[in-house]
């Protein structure tokens, strides 16, 4: 599905990602963990097509296509979804109008007719229940005046509406209390199908109590320094990132 080879990227001339290689197969859940400043969010930004990060080397192919050449909206239409760490408030644009436009753009891309108003509202209702989001939020402007938890739930709600093939969740757990965390994680689990994949980017292990990854990568200083199964997350929780830093340091000395 997604193949990243020796990816390097910089922001304002400073290299942040220093060579990442990674493959995500259909149906897999990958967790990318790492301390602050390790390049996790930059990786998410590069995959979604945010312009501020400049790719200097390497390739990213998605279903055989060169992802880096695609506009952000085309990536979304091909099934990539980014759950934002800091969802943006857009005053004056209603959630309904936003989602209707997005869903119908994607349908158009797949050669489908736009949804009728009643079908669309039905879909909104179903997906709202799925992520336990307050009904009233849908009538408000996008993220405007939402609490931190509501914003994150709203990201999962949008994911539910758009049914992506590859969801990249950037620190979706940050700023969530335990109840909201559980709701968000349940939403992700309910949306999981055998053929779609998720990349969960997180600083802490606790989200991984609910979303069980197949593979855990540790990102440190722009590189993946360790890859293992779900037990790696627990090990990190126990020992902290210092252990990794030390380990990497020793490896570099050898």
């Amino acid at each position: 599905m997604l193949v990243i080879k020796n990816l390097k990227a910089s922001i304002d001339g400073k290299t942040i990602i220093k060579g990442i290689s990674l493959e995500v197969k259909p149906g897999e859940i990958h967790a990318i963990m790492g301390p602050n400043g390790s390049g996790k969010s930059t990786l998410a930004a590069v995959l979604a097509g945010r312009e501020f990060a400049e790719v200097t080397e390497g390739t990213v192919t998605y279903f055989g296509k060169n992802l880096l050449e695609m506009a952000p909206e085309d990536r979304a239409k091909e099934g990539i979804f980014l759950g934002f760490q800091y969802p943006i408030e857009i005053p004056g644009v209603s959630m309904v109008n936003f989602m209707k436009t997005a869903v119908n753009e994607q349908r158009k891309h797949r050669g489908l007719e736009p949804l009728s108003a009643s079908d669309f509202l039905k879909m909104m209702r179903e997906k709202k229940e799925l992520v336990e989001i307050d009904s009233k939020l849908a009538n408000r402007s996008v993220n405007e005046g939402f609490s931190g938890g509501e914003k994150k739930k709203n990201e999962i709600f949008q994911m539910a509406m758009l049914e992506p093939k590859l969801a990249i969740l950037d620190e979706t757990d940050s700023g969530l209390d335990i109840d909201a965390l559980r709701i968000v994680a349940n939403g992700v689990n309910k949306l999981k199908r055998p053929d779609n994949s998720v990349i969960v980017i997180t600083h802490y292990q606790r989200l991984l109590d609910y979303i069980i990854p197949d593979v855990v990568h540790v990102l440190y200083d722009g590189r993946i320094v360790k890859t293992a199964g779900k037990e790696l997350a627990l090990e990190l929780e126990e020992k902290g990132y210092d252990w990794i830093k030390k380990d990497v340091g020793e490896n570099n000395l050898k």
């Binding site: 979604a48 097509g49 945010r50 312009e51 506009a71 952000p72 909206e73 990536r75 979304a76 239409k77 979804f81 980014l82 934002f84 969802p87 943006i88 857009i90 005053p91 004056g92 644009v93 109008n97 936003f98 436009t101 997005a102 753009e105 994607q106 891309h109 402007s141 996008v142 949008q158 758009l162």
Partner: protein
Amino acid sequence: MNNQSERSERYYNLYKENIKRIAENSSPYINSFREEAIEKFGQLGIPTRENETYRYTNLDTFFNHEFKSYFMPVASDFARAEEFRCDVTDLDAHGIVLLNGFYPTITDKLRQLPGGIWIGSLNEASKKFGEKIEKHYAKYAGSDSDGLVHLNTAMASDGVFIYVPEGVVLKKPVQVINLVQSEEDIFNQHRSLIVVEKNAEITLIICDHTLSPTKFLTNAVTEVYVGENSHFDIIRVQNEHNNAGKITHTFIHQERNSNASSNNITLHGGLVRNSTHHFLGGEGAESYSYGLYLADKFQHVDNYVNVEHAYPNCTSNQLFKGVLDDMATGAFNGRIYVHKDAQGTMAYQKNNNILLTDDAKMDTKPQLEIYADDVKCSHGATVGQLDDDALFYLQSRGINKREARLMLMFGFAHEVIQNIKVEALRERMDNLVMQRLRGELSRCASCMVKCG
């Protein structure tokens, strides 16, 4: 300066040539203000950019133009105005059509609505309701610096009169459609007076349209009296063509515990200048002043707002937003004046602008004069581009860049539109704004006029 006095002299001569005909149609009371007003106009002249409140607006292209003689209506002129139908389908309103500043029906110049409300021609009303007119006419519109207000008082031919008696609430809005239509380039001035007595409520919608592509200049004055505990909303929708110059002056005088709002929505027009004056003349009064302007090509839109807090514990709020494309220019000047005794004043002002090109230009200037000490005041102005983060957020959901930009602009504009309480009009405005932003002509779809 020579040019200036020459120009003012032209309008002075226009007055002399036409005053006899204008006065014949008017009442002695309204006529009694003309002589003094033209003298004041003579002293002040047409505003230039040396006038602080016109600093960013150049009136030359319209006021230097030779307009044909002052328009007086004849019966045949009204045929087209009679045909005009507004296409805001769900808008249930009491309608009035003004043609080139005149009340174009011969038989039904003054109508009575339920509750003893009168709507109709100011000329007609001034003959019938001398007392009501004398109490309010020319009492609120005045200016030490703007000659155009005086030019209007000197020459205004007709306009709308609305009278809402004490305790009467009119649920349906009154809609005034101002049409300009002529084979020749014309200059027209109309004058309106709205009197809302105590504990009453009314909404007024004013739609400015052009019916022919000739060059027009309008200089309109509206005076509004809002009595104690009363509620008054005025929404002005300006949808004219690039050859149209529109200058409006609205003076809203508010009594104790009254609530008034003004919303100027400029969708289209060559040169537009709206000045809106809110006088909070009694304790506990609330005023809201909104404006939205969408301009492109060489259009220019200027909003001048003057809020005067003369009594304690009043609240005022200004929100003006604009999107400027191509070489369009805009100006906003918001003045808040708090008198010494107006303790407990709350006054807020916000002006946000989006420039879509490097050539578009916006001048914005807050002007706060506060002489009381217990006051809450804030003001803020921004001039910028669309928010990149918001744009990416929409794109990341599969919405293409062009559509995402439109959605952001629409959302930006909607913050002003959402303050319109008449639902059918609010929806229609959202619709027109979207069409306008898409670059489709936003004139009403079923209108037979090809505005331009």
